[in-house]
Amino acid sequence: MTTHLPLLDIRNLTKSYGAVKAVNDVSLHIDRGEIAGLIGPNGSGKSTFFDCSTGLARPDTGTVVLDGQDITGWSLNRIAREGRMLRSFQKTVTFRSLDVEENLIIAGQMFTFPSILSTFSIGKLSRQRIAGLRERARELIRMAGLWDVRHQPAGNLSGGQQKLIQFASMLMPEPKLILLDEPMAGINPKIIERVVETILYANKSLGVSFLVIEHNIDVVTSICRRVIVLDQGQKLAEGLPQDIIQDQRVREAYLGG
């Protein structure tokens, strides 16, 4: 490993549910400015790994260190807000009765306002901050091709459109690290291209690092510099995408023949 500190450093993470060891002693690190992929067969523990790293679930053992700070045991919102590490969910979730714009503004709010108390203000500063967020939200809405439906309640949108809202939400603040859980699932191929562009843009220009779970191998190979493969909760392989897809064990477990 290199001398400089990785952005996210997870050591020996384990999580079991009853007899099922969903994540079994997995260590993983993400470097600053990196886009890494996390792949593996269904039920191999990828989402659980996310849950444990972001505070949604409590790992049985293991430590999560973000930017030199031990964040193990922090709550979901604290990791997001203070750690500036965001995650998306595999399941399509949105604020259903709020329109697309509001959905995105909410995603940005806690990163714009310095404290809980300041969010109760309706003063000028507060309104300016919100106006700024709205601007940014509109940009992202255009990117996701949701301009025509931006004033529709998110719950009334199609599955793919809701998935796009989730993705756009991740980019509302400028976090250090985004964990994406299958961002491309159910997205049409043309928009996938744009999502990929957006990820690359955010990575290059804004310096956001990514860890992406994705079953779309083309996407994984095109954006990730490094791919980690999980199988039955354990790390099966790690390396360059082109090496990984050639790996016999990965082919058997994941790609199917």
Binding site: L56, N77, A80, L86, V93, F95, I106, T119
Partner: protein
């Protein structure tokens, strides 16, 4: 109020400001138009509007269905009553202390209760009302038990050299109206603030909000306390108006009345709560024409409401508002 028009809206006729002025004038002139009984009913509506505003923040905006409003209402009523009887303090002191006391009690109650979700939370809050009543009945040295507090004096003000007592129904009406307007503006500010948006996010999907960095737990606690403050101030008005506070104040009747006002009026809308308190207090009074059928009719009205106005009256109000406001 921030009813600033944009040029977009100004294109069509905007009747909202004239309507607002009209409604406000009617509210001001009410004691001269209606009989004392009508004014009394308006006072009751205003008294219930306060805890209903608080409840609306909780149910309508944050998505926490609570039955504890009666408990905080009762705490406010007792606090104000005890202060007024024991120390003869001015009304504003009683009202503020009542609100603060209710809010302060809400903190330790909210901490455990807000760990619960949906129905479990509802039951927990129902428990607060029942336990509140038991305390009011049995903590005799303070609450005087079942005897309750009676003969609570009329609201008394001391503003510098000026001091006066608000006597009579009309005077009390203006007092309640002033407090009602203040409370409405306060709620308005809260829901229009970014915090209001976060509250709605919690209502829509708590885990998602949390994952976007919203400290849902803190917000829920703050809103729970805030709603208690509103209920407490409402309780102080109640105590001064009815002059009697007894353990009966901790009664499901009050919680359900407030809930009906909020849900029936239209949860998640300020105008809904205002409309709801007028509507439902008005309805219970109007139905006095048939004492025997009164509660049956009231129950049927609730059913009609549920099936004809699924979201309460909020959408109707919205439509009217938009129509007169000239918005698309």
């Amino acid at each position: 109020m921030s009813l600033t028009q944009t040029s977009e809206r100004a294109r069509r006729r905007d009747y909202r400001i004239p309507l607002g002025i009209l409604l406000f004038s009617v509210a001001l002139a009410a004691p001269f138009i209606g009989s004392r009984y009508v004014v009394h009913a308006l006072i009751i509506a205003l008294v219930f509007m306060l805890p209903a505003h608080g409840l609306n923040l909780l149910v309508g905006y944050t998505g926490l269905l609570s039955l504890a409003q009666a408990a905080f209402f009762g705490i406010g009523a007792y606090t104000a009553g005890l202060l007024a009887i024991g120390y003869g303090t001015p009304f504003y002191v009683n009202a503020v202390v009542a609100g603060l006391a209710a809010g302060a009690v809400a903190l330790p109650l909210g901490v455990p209760a807000l760990r619960l979700r949906s129905t479990s939370f509802v039951m927990c809050t129902l428990g607060f009302v029942i336990i509140g009543q038991a305390i009011a009945k049995n903590w005799i040295s303070v609450t005087r038990g079942d005897m309750g507090l009676s003969g609570i004096p009329k609201p008394y003000f001391e503003l510098g050299p000026l001091s006066f007592t608000v006597g009579g129904t009309t005077g009390f009406y203006y007092l309640a109206l002033a407090i009602g307007i203040l409370a409405t503006l306060a709620v308005f500010a809260v829901v229009r603030s970014p915090a209001g948006r976060n509250m709605v996010a919690i209502r829509e999907n708590e885990t998602l909000a949390e994952s976007l960095g919203v400290p849902t737990w803190h917000y829920k606690l703050i809103v729970f306390m805030l709603s208690a403050v509103f209920a407490g101030v409402g309780g102080s008005l109640y105590a001064h108006y009815l002059t009697v506070v007894s353990p009966l104040t901790f009664q499901m009747y009050y919680s359900t009345t407030m809930l009906i006002i909020v849900l029936g009026g239209g949860a998640g809308m300020i105008s809904g709560t205002i409309f709801g308190s007028l509507l439902f207090v008005g309805l219970t009074e109007a139905l006095r024409i048939t004492p025997e059928l009164r509660m049956i009719a009231y129950g049927l009205c609730l059913l009609v409401l549920v099936f004809w106005f699924k979201q309460g009256f909020a959408p109707v109000i919205n439509r009217v508002w938009n129509a007169i406001g000239g918005a698309k």
